[in-house]
C-alpha cells in the first residue's frame, strides 16, 4: 500500500484529516466525554435522592464511556490500517457546507518522506500515512474570523480515551467502597464524573484554545477533590497550593498558546494547522523556542516537574482514589499529552534532533533523580508514591525532550496502570489501618492482606522496570531513545543525550530501591499500628487485580523491533504503529534502535538498587529487629547517624530542597504580607490621600472665597442695594394712614391742583 508514492506521482494533495466517511465511532468520539458530563449534571441535581446516592450514575456513565472508547479504539486500528484518503479533488467533495470546517490540506511534497520516518520503520516498507479524523463546528467569531471547536481523533487521542476511561471506571468502582459513608459521597462522585469529562474533553481537543479550557477544568476538579475534606485547613491549603502553583505554570500556557496562535497558526488555534505549518517550515524559530519554553513552564506545573512540583505531594491530602486517578494516571500527564500533541513546537523550537541538551530533557532528567531521592525520606506511603509519580513523569518529559515520542507515550500508558494500582493498593492498606504513615501504623501487613500485597508487589516490580513487566519495556525504550548509548554501538535516536541516559539509569536504581523500602515498611516486619488489619472487600480488590494485570502485560504491545522474532513481526511496535502519527502534522523524528546491551545494563542497575535496599531492610534491619525484638524502620547506626555529609543530605531531602519554604514563606509570604500591605497602604495614604487632600483643599479654598470675597464684597453689594430700597420705602410709609378720608383728601387736593394747572396751561 504505497500511497505516498502514488500521491506524489499524481501530484495530488494529501489531507491531514477527514471529517467523515470513516467509522461511526471515530466520527462520534465526542460522545465519550459527553457521557460523564451528563452524569455530572444528573448526580449534582438528583444524586442525593438516588438509592445509591448517585454513584450508580457515575459508574454507569463511565462504563458506557469505556465501552465507547474501546469501540473507538478498535475502529481506529481498523482505520489506521485500511483507510485510503481520497485524493484532493475528492476530498473537496468531502467537505460539507455550513458547519463542518474544511479539512486542512497540505501539499504532499512538503511532507513527503525525506528522512527515516516513513521508510525505515518495519524494515524498508513505507509506512502508510495517518489520516486523523477532525470534526468541528463554529464556536465563536472574533475579528471577522470564525473559531471552531471540535474533536481531533488520532492514535494519541484514542489511546488517551481508552486509558482515561479504563482507569476512571476502576477508580469509580473502587470508590463506591472506599469512600462509602463519607458525608459528601454524592458530591465526590459528581466531581469524579466532571473530572473524567474534562479530561476526555481535553484529549479530544482539536484546537489549543479548547485545550486550555480542558486543562483548567481538570485543574479545578483536582482543586475540589484535593480539598474534599475541606473542614481541615491543611486539606484546603493543599488544594489552594495545587491550584495556585498550576496558575503560575498557566502563565506559560497562556503565553505559549498566544504565541503559537499568532506565529504558527496565522490566526488560528487549530492544532493541525499549527503543527503542519511548523513541520513544513516557515515559522520563525525564535517564536517557536519562546513558545516551547513557555509551554514547558505549564508542563512543569501540571506534570509536577522541578521546580513547580511541590503541589503534587501535598495533593495527597485528597482521597486516595483521587490520587490514583488524577494525581497519578491522568491529570498529571496532561502536560505530557500537551507536549506530545504539539510536538512540532518542541521538536523544532528546541531543536531536539541532532542536539544533546535542551530544556525539556534537562527538566525531566533532573526531576526524575531529585524526586526519586526525596522518596527515600518520606514516611507517608502516598507521599513516596507521589514523589515516584513525579520521578516517572520526569522520565516521560525527558523522553519527549530527547525525541523518544513513542517511548514517552508508551511510558505514560504503562505508568497509568501500575501507578494507579500502587495508589489504590496504598488506599487499601490505609483502609485497613486508617493511616498512611508507614513507620507508625504499618508493617507486616502481608499476613492480613495477601491480595493487596500481591498486586502491590507486581505493580512495584513493573514500576522498577523488571523484565518482562510493563515498566521494563517502556523505560527501556526511553533509555534507548536518548541515543546516548554511544559507547557501545549507539542506539540511533535524535541526538546524543548521554547525560539524560545516565540520569535515567540512575533513576532506575532509585526506583527499585525506594519501592523495596516501601514494601518492607508496609508489608514486612512486625505490625506497628493498632487493632487488627483486615483485607479489603471485592470492590477494592477487583480494580487492583485488573490494574496489576495491565501492569504485568501492557508492555507486550510494543515489543521492540527485532526482539526474538526478528523483523517484520506483526507483534512488534504495535503501539508505536497505531499511536505515533505518520503525517504532515507530526515532525520528522528518528526512531532509536533497541539495544540488548543497554537493556541488560539498565536491568542490572535496577536490580542493584533493589538489591541494596533489600540488603538494608530485609537482611540487616530484619535481623536487628529480630535480635532486639523491636519493630524498626531504619538502622540506628546507618549512614545518616555516622556521617555529617550524609546527615546534611538527609536534612536537605527531608526539607524537600527547601522549595516549600521558598514558595510559602518567602514568595507568597512577601507578596501577601509586605507587598500587598504596601500596596494597600499606598492606596489608602498616597492615592486616596491625594484625593482627600484635594477635597480638603477645595473646601479650604471655598471657605476662603466665601468668607473673604463672597460675603463681604459680592454679597455686600447686593445687600446694600436692598437696604437702600428699604429705607426709601420706610420714608413713604407714613403717608399710608389707612384712613379713606385722608386718601380722598389727597385725591381731591391732587385733582384740584391738576385742575388748577390745567386752567393755567389752557389760559396761557
Amino acid at each position: 500500500m504505497n500511497f505516498l508514492l502514488l500521491a506524489a506521482e499524481n501530484a495530488t494533495q494529501l489531507p491531514l484529516a477527514v471529517s467523515n466517511g470513516t467509522n461511526w465511532f471515530l466520527e462520534h468520539a465526542w460522545i465519550v466525554p459527553l457521557l460523564p458530563a451528563v452524569s455530572f449534571v444528573i448526580i449534582l441535581f438528583f444524586g442525593k435522592r438516588m438509592p445509591r446516592k448517585g454513584a450508580e450514575v457515575g459508574v454507569a456513565a463511565v462504563a458506557l464511556a469505556f465501552v465507547f472508547a474501546v469501540l473507538t479504539g478498535v475502529a481506529w486500528i481498523n482505520h489506521r490500517d485500511n483507510y485510503t484518503p481520497p485524493a484532493a479533488s475528492e476530498s473537496a467533495l468531502v467537505i460539507d457546507g455550513g458547519e463542518i470546517a474544511p479539512d486542512q490540506v497540505v501539499p504532499a511534497a512538503e511532507e513527503a518522506p525525506t528522512k527515516g520516518e516513513v521508510v525505515t520503520e518495519g524494515g524498508g516498507e513505507a509506512e502508510q500515512p495517518t489520516v486523523a479524523i477532525h470534526k468541528s463546528t463554529t464556536w465563536l467569531r472574533n475579528g471577522g474570523v470564525a473559531f471552531d471547536a471540535g474533536i481531533l481523533v488520532d492514535g494519541l487521542s484514542v489511546l488517551m480515551l481508552f486509558m482515561v476511561t479504563l482507569v476512571s471506571l476502576l477508580v469509580h468502582i473502587y470508590s463506591t467502597d472506599y469512600v462509602a459513608g463519607d458525608r459528601r459521597y454524592t458530591h465526590f462522585f459528581a466531581f469524579l464524573s466532571l473530572f473524567t469529562a474534562a479530561m476526555l474533553f481535553f484529549v479530544l481537543s482539536d484546537n489549543i484554545l479548547q485545550m486550555i479550557v480542558g486543562w483548567e477544568l481538570v485543574g479545578v476538579c483536582s482543586f475540589v477533590l484535593i480539598g474534599h475534606w475541606w473542614e481541615e485547613k491543611a486539606n484546603s491549603d493543599a488544594a489552594m497550593k495545587a491550584f495556585i502553583t498550576n496558575r503560575v505554570g498557566d502563565i506559560g500556557l497562556l503565553v505559549g498558546v498566544i504565541i503559537l496562535f499568532f506565529t504558527a497558526g496565522n490566526g488560528s488555534f487549530d492544532i493541525l494547522t499549527i503543527n503542519s505549518n511548523i513541520v513544513s517550515g516557515g515559522v520563525s524559530h525564535t517564536a517557536l523556542i519562546v513558545a516551547a519554553m513557555s509551554l514547558t513552564a505549564a508542563v512543569m506545573s501540571k506534570s509536577g516537574q522541578f521546580v513547580l512540583h511541590t503541589w503534587l505531594p501535598d495533593a495527597m491530602a485528597g482521597p486516595t482514589p483521587v490520587s490514583a486517578l488524577i494525581h497519578a494516571a491522568t491529570m498529571v500527564v496532561a502536560g505530557i499529552y500537551m507536549v506530545a500533541r504539539l510536538y512540532p513546537v518542541f521538536f523544532e523550537g528546541m531543536q531536539i534532533g541532532g542536539s544533546s541538551i535542551n530544556l525539556l530533557a534537562v527538566v525531566g532528567a533532573v526531576t526524575l533523580v531529585l524526586a526519586g531521592l526525596v522518596a527515600f525520606v518520606q514516611s507517608d506511603i502516598k507521599k513516596v508514591l507521589a514523589y515516584s509519580t513525579i520521578s516517572q513523569l520526569g522520565y516521560m518529559v525527558m523522553a519527549l525532550g530527547v525525541g523518544a515520542w513513542t517511548a514517552a507515550i508508551f511510558h505514560l500508558f504503562t505508568h497509568a496502570f501500575f501507578k494507579a494500582c500502587l495508589f489504590l493498593g496504598a488506599g487499601s492498606t490505609s483502609h485497613a489501618v486508617h493511616s498512611f504513615d508507614m513507620k507508625k501504623d504499618m508493617g507486616g501487613l502481608r499476613r492480613w492482606m495477601p491480595h493487596t500485597y500481591l498486586t502491590f508487589v507486581v505493580a512495584s516490580l513493573a514500576l522498577a522496570g523488571i523484565f518482562p513487566l510493563a515498566g521494563f519495556w517502556s523505560k527501556d525504550e526511553i533509555l534507548s531513545g536518548t541515543g546516548g548509548w554511544g559507547l557501545f554501538g549507539g542506539t540511533g535516536g535524535n541526538g546524543a543525550y548521554t547525560f539524560m541516559l545516565a540520569m535515567g539509569i540512575l533513576g532506575a536504581a532509585l526506583t527499585g530501591a525506594y519501592m523495596t523500602r516501601v514494601i518492607y515498611l508496609t508489608f514486612h516486619g512486625e505490625f506497628r499500628g493498632h487493632g487488627t488489619p483486615h483485607e479489603s472487600g471485592r470492590l477494592i480488590l477487583v480494580p487492583l487485580y485488573v490494574l496489576a494485570g495491565f501492569a504485568l502485560l501492557a508492555g507486550l504491545i510494543n515489543l521492540p523491533v527485532g526482539f526474538i522474532t526478528g523483523n517484520n513481526s506483526s507483534w512488534q511496535e504495535r503501539f508505536g504503529h497505531y499511536v505515533q502519527p505518520v503525517a504532515g502534522y507530526f515532525p520528522d523524528i528518528a526512531q532509536a534502535t533497541p539495544s540488548y546491551s543497554l537493556a541488560i545494563v539498565s536491568s542490572f542497575v535496577a536490580f542493584a538498587g533493589i538489591g541494596y535496599a533489600f540488603w538494608y531492610y530485609f537482611v540487616k534491619l530484619d535481623r536487628l529487629a529480630r535480635a532486639t525484638g523491636e519493630s524498626l524502620t531504619e538502622l540506628p547506626d546507618g549512614l545518616v547517624a555516622n556521617s555529617a555529609v550524609a546527615r546534611a543530605g538527609h536534612t536537605l531531602l527531608v526539607q524537600k530542597y527547601y522549595l516549600d519554604h521558598l514558595y510559602t514563606d518567602i514568595i507568597v509570604g512577601t507578596t501577601k504580607g509586605v507587598i500587598a500591605r504596601a500596596a494597600n497602604w499606598t492606596n489608602q495614604n498616597v492615592i486616596d490621600g491625594a484625593v482627600n487632600l484635594a477635597g480638603r483643599w477645595s473646601v479650604k479654598v471655598g471657605r476662603f472665597t466665601y468668607d473673604r470675597i463672597d460675603q463681604p464684597l459680592v454679597d455686600g453689594l447686593a445687600n446694600a442695594t436692598g437696604r437702600a430700597s428699604n429705607s426709601l420705602g420706610d420714608g413713604f410709609r407714613v403717608v399710608q394712614t389707612g384712613k379713606v378720608q385722608q386718601y380722598a383728601a389727597l385725591l381731591f387736593a391732587a385733582a384740584a391742583l391738576l385742575g388748577g394747572a390745567l386752567v393755567v396751561v389752557l389760559s396761557l
Binding site: 472574533n142 490566526g267 501577601k672 486616596d688
Partner: protein
C-alpha cells in the same frame, strides 16, 4: 410590532422605567407591596421590550445602527434626540435590563435600613432609565445627560441607605465622577467646534456621534486631539475606574447597600469603558493610538495593584471592590490594543464582570444580612452553615478568577491574547510586556479569590454564629434573583459565541471606520490577526 419597535422601541425602553417611577410617586408610601409589584412589572416590561428588540434585531447586520430614532431636540446647539442599537450596545443593554429586575426581586425582603421601599425602588427605576439611555444615545449631549442622570439616584442610594460612613462615601463618589464628567463635557464641546467633514472640510458643528465617528477626528490638529482625548480619558476613566482614579470605588462599594453595589459593579462601571469603545476611540483614533500605551500601562498597573490590594483586605466587600479594579484593568488593556480581538474581549469582559461581580456583591449582601459582618476573619464554614450559599460563592469565585467554562475566562484570555499583537502603530514589545504582566495578574486573582473562599467558605463555622437562628440558607427570592445570573455565567462560559458573534461585526465596523479616515487612522489599518 415591528413598526412599533422601529419607531418607538428604543424610546420605550428608556422611558418605561421612568413612567413606572412616575406612577409610583402618586401612590402613598405605606402601600409597599404595590410599589414592589409596580417596580417589578415595570422592569420586566422593559426586559420584555429589550427581548423583543433582540428578536427583531438583524444580527447579520449587527455593525450598523438599527431601530434608529432621529428627532430634533435642542436646535440652538444642533443637538438631536438620536437613539440607535448595534452589536456593541446589545450585550450591555441586555445586561442592564436583566440586573435591574433581579435587584428588585432581591429587594423584596431586603429593603435596607432605613426602609422606604417607595423611594428606594423609584431610584432604581430612574437609574435604569439613565443606564439604558447611556447605552442607546447616539448624540453626545444626550449621552452626557443620561450619563449624569445615573449619578443622582446612586448618590442618594448610598447616602440614605448606606453603611456607617455613607456620607463620606456618597459625596466622594458624586464629586469624583462629576469632576470627570466636567472634563468630558469640555471634550465634547471641543469636538463640536473643531470637528470637520472629512470630504468637504466644512465644520460639522454637530453632536451626532455617527457623524463624528465618520469624521474620525479629521481636521483637528493632532496635539489638540491629544488634549480632547485626555479630557475624555479622565471623564470615562474615573467611571471605569482606571488606576489611579479608583479610590472612590472601594468606599462607595463598601458603604453602598447591596443593591447599590450590585448595580454599581454590574453596570455603572461599564458606562466608562463603553464610553471608550463608543466615543473616545472611534471619534479620535489618531489620539487614541498615541495614548494607547499609556492606557495599557495604567490598565496593567491596575491589574497588579488591584490584586495586591485585595490580598491585604479584611473586609469581603472591600476585597470584591478591589477585584473590580483588577478586572476592569483587563478590560482596559483589551481596549488599549485597539484590535477587534481586544474590543470583543472588552465587551465580553464587561458583561462577564457585570454578572460575576454583581453576583459576588449579592452573595456578600446575603452574608452580611445573615452574619451581620463581612470580616473575613470572623466568617468561615459557609459550606457547612449555609451550604447552598457557599456553593454559589464557590462557583462565582471560580468564575471571577477566570476559569474556562465560566464566563470570566472569555473576557480575560482574549484580552491577554490581543495584547500580543496590538494594532499597527502600537509597539508590540510594550504590549507584550503588558501581556506577561497581565498573565501574572491571573495568578494574583487566583490567590486572593481562593484565599477569600478558603477563609469564608471552607473550614468549620466559628462558634459565635453556631446558635444563631437567623442563619438560613438561600431563600426563594434570592434564588429567583440569582438563577438567571448564575445560568448565564455558565452558559456564556461554554458558548462564548453568544456574545462574540453579536459584537464582532460592530467592532470590526467601528475599527474599520477608523481606518478609512484621518491621520493616525491609517495606523490602525490592519486588523490584529498577525497578518499585518
Amino acid at each position: 410590532m415591528t413598526d412599533f419597535l422601529n419607531t418607538w422601541g428604543l424610546t420605550a425602553v428608556i422611558f418605561v422605567p421612568l413612567i413606572g417611577a412616575a406612577v409610583m410617586m402618586l401612590i402613598p408610601e405605606r402601600e409597599e407591596e404595590t410599589h414592589k409589584l409596580i417596580a417589578l412589572l415595570t422592569s420586566l416590561l422593559t426586559l420584555g421590550f429589550v427581548a423583543a428588540l433582540m428578536i427583531e434585531f438583524d444580527y447579520g447586520d449587527a455593525g450598523t445602527m438599527q431601530f434608529v430614532q432621529d428627532k430634533g431636540w435642542i436646535d440652538v446647539i444642533n443637538s438631536r434626540y438620536i437613539l440607535g442599537l448595534d452589536g456593541i450596545s446589545i450585550p450591555l443593554l441586555a445586561l442592564t435590563v436583566l440586573i435591574v429586575p433581579s435587584v428588585i426581586v432581591y429587594s423584596w425582603h431586603h429593603i435596607p435600613h432605613p426602609g422606604n421601599a417607595k423611594a428606594f425602588l423609584i431610584l432604581n427605576l430612574i437609574l435604569e432609565t439613565g443606564m439604558v439611555g447611556t447605552f442607546l444615545a447616539q448624540d453626545l449631549i444626550l449621552f452626557f445627560l443620561f450619563f449624569e442622570v445615573v449619578l443622582l439616584p446612586m448618590f442618594f442610594m448610598i447616602a440614605v441607605w448606606g453603611g456607617e460612613d455613607r456620607r463620606y462615601a456618597s459625596l466622594k463618589f458624586f464629586l469624583y465622577t462629576l469632576f470627570g464628567s466636567a472634563l468630558m463635557l469640555l471634550g465634547f464641546l471641543a469636538l463640536f467646534f473643531l470637528a470637520k467633514d472629512p470630504v468637504t472640510g466644512a465644520a460639522l458643528h454637530t453632536f451626532d456621534m455617527r457623524a463624528l465617528t465618520a469624521s474620525a477626528g479629521s481636521g483637528i490638529v493632532h496635539s489638540t486631539q491629544l488634549w480632547i482625548f485626555a479630557a475624555m480619558f479622565i471623564g470615562f476613566g474615573v467611571k471605569v475606574p482606571i488606576f489611579p482614579f479608583h479610590t472612590w470605588l472601594p468606599d462607595a462599594h463598601t458603604q453602598a447597600p447591596t443593591q447599590g453595589s450590585v448595580i454599581l459593579a454590574a453596570v455603572l462601571l461599564k458606562l466608562g469603558t463603553y464610553g471608550f469603545l463608543r466615543i473616545a476611540i472611534p471619534i479620535l483614533p489618531g489620539a487614541a493610538t498615541t495614548w494607547a500605551p499609556w492606557i495599557g500601562l495604567v490598565a496593567v498597573i491596575g491589574i497588579i495593584y488591584g490584586g495586591l490590594a485585595c490580598l491585604a483586605q479584611t473586609d469581603m466587600k472591600r476585597l470584591i471592590a478591589f477585584s473590580s479594579v483588577a478586572h476592569m484593568g483587563f478590560v482596559m488593556l483589551a481596549i488599549a490594543t485597539m484590535t477587534p480581538f481586544g474590543f470583543n474581549a472588552a465587551i465580553y469582559g464587561m458583561v462577564a464582570h457585570g454578572l460575576i461581580t454583581g453576583m459576588l456583591f449579592f452573595v456578600a449582601g446575603s452574608v452580611k444580612e445573615r452574619f451581620h459582618t463581612l470580616d473575613i476573619k470572623r466568617l468561615g464554614g459557609l459550606l457547612i452553615s449555609v451550604p447552598k450559599l457557599g456553593w454559589i460563592l464557590g462557583i462565582v469565585t471560580m468564575a471571577s478568577l477566570g476559569l474556562p467554562g465560566l464566563a470570566g475566562f472569555w473576557g480575560e484570555f482574549p484580552a491577554i491574547l490581543a495584547a500580543y499583537n496590538p494594532a499597527n502603530g502600537l509597539s508590540p514589545s510594550i504590549f507584550r510586556t503588558f501581556m506577561v504582566i497581565a498573565a501574572l495578574g491571573t495568578v494574583l486573582a487566583a490567590g486572593y479569590l481562593l484565599w477569600l473562599y478558603q477563609r469564608v467558605g471552607m473550614g468549620e463555622p466559628s462558634e459565635e454564629f453556631a446558635a444563631d437562628p437567623g442563619i438560613t440558607d438561600v431563600n426563594t427570592r434570592e434564588w429567583l434573583a440569582w438563577t438567571p445570573l448564575l445560568a448565564l455565567i455558565v452558559v456564556f462560559g461554554f458558548l462564548p459565541g453568544l456574545i462574540f458573534n453579536v459584537t464582532d461585526p460592530a467592532v470590526v465596523q467601528i475599527l474599520d471606520n477608523c481606518l478609512q479616515n484621518a491621520d493616525g487612522c491609517t495606523a490602525v489599518a490592519q486588523s490584529a490577526l498577525g497578518r499585518g
